[in-house]
């Protein structure tokens, strides 16, 4: 199971999460998004970049409610809410966005 980006093969698990975090690139994110049927807009990238920064700082992917709270604080209430997040990532912001961001599945996310 793998993604193909610029002639490189990048392994992922049975749910589509990449297995080696350092394999991530913006091109790979676009490829994962394609598989997830998501057209990456600036708004999507804002969430993905936030997740990557959060992981970089704390070594975990945040739970959905933590993500939404943090986005609300950083980008305002019109973006930091469930509805907006699920519009961007219909199968769950933390789950789908984390996959695109190249992070492990969030702790406690089943």
């Amino acid at each position: 199971m793998s993604y193909q980006v610029n002639g490189h093969t990048i392994e992922h698990d049975e749910e589509g999460y990449i297995t080696t975090l350092s394999d991530w690139s913006k091109e790979l994110a676009d490829e994962i998004a394609k598989v997830e049927n998501i057209d990456m807009t600036e708004e999507h990238w804002a969430v993905v970049n936030f997740l990557r920064d959060y992981y970089d700082e704390y070594q975990i992917a945040p739970a959905v409610r933590v993500l939404i709270k943090a986005i609300k604080k950083e980008m305002g209430p019109e973006k930091g809410n469930n509805k907006y997040m699920y519009e961007l990532f219909p199968y769950g912001p933390a789950k789908q966005a984390c996959k695109i961001a190249g992070l492990p599945k969030p702790t406690g996310c089943v």
Binding site: Y54, E57, Y58, Q59, I60, P62, A63, R65, V66, K69, A70, T107, G108
Partner: protein, 135 residues
């Protein structure tokens, strides 16, 4: 919605020699979703979990010490550290990393999560819980 209960996670093991410390942290992060009154206690070798300057590159395991700094986002804002346990190990509060939370009820002011307590105070804290989970 049932009444809020007081949960204390007791940490008495050093971070990398066994899986206890990481398991405890994961259970706390998952359990935080249940909106209970959660606090953590660090005593005996558990105080080593919070020390500054951990770097696990050479041993090939994840350094989860930065994750303690995310606990505030999960509304876990009380990390009790036992003074005697620090002293017995030649450590003091300055050897611990800084962990803060933003107090929602106080204009999001940043406050320290680590509270240094004496052994007697730790015993009182333990005796004040509904549920004590040991790691």
């Amino acid at each position: 919605m049932s009444e809020t209960k007081k949960f204390l996670y007791v940490n008495r093991k050093a971070p990398y020699g066994t899986i206890y410390a990481l398991e405890s942290l994961e259970v706390v992060l998952i359990g935080a979703a249940f909106e209970q009154d959660v606090s953590m206690a660090f005593l005996d070798d558990g105080v080593f979990q919070l020390t500054k300057g951990q770097n696990t590159e050479a041993i090939g395991v994840k350094n989860f010490s930065p994750t303690f700094r995310a606990l505030g986002d999960y509304e876990v804002t009380k990390l009790y550290v036992e003074m005697e346990s620090l002293e017995e190990r030649g450590l003091g509060p300055d050897d611990l990393q800084e962990i803060t939370y933003e107090d929602e009820d106080d204009d999001w002011e940043e406050k320290p999560s680590i509270r240094i307590v004496s052994r007697t105070e730790m015993a009182d804290i333990m005796a004040d819980q509904d549920v004590v989970l040991s790691f």
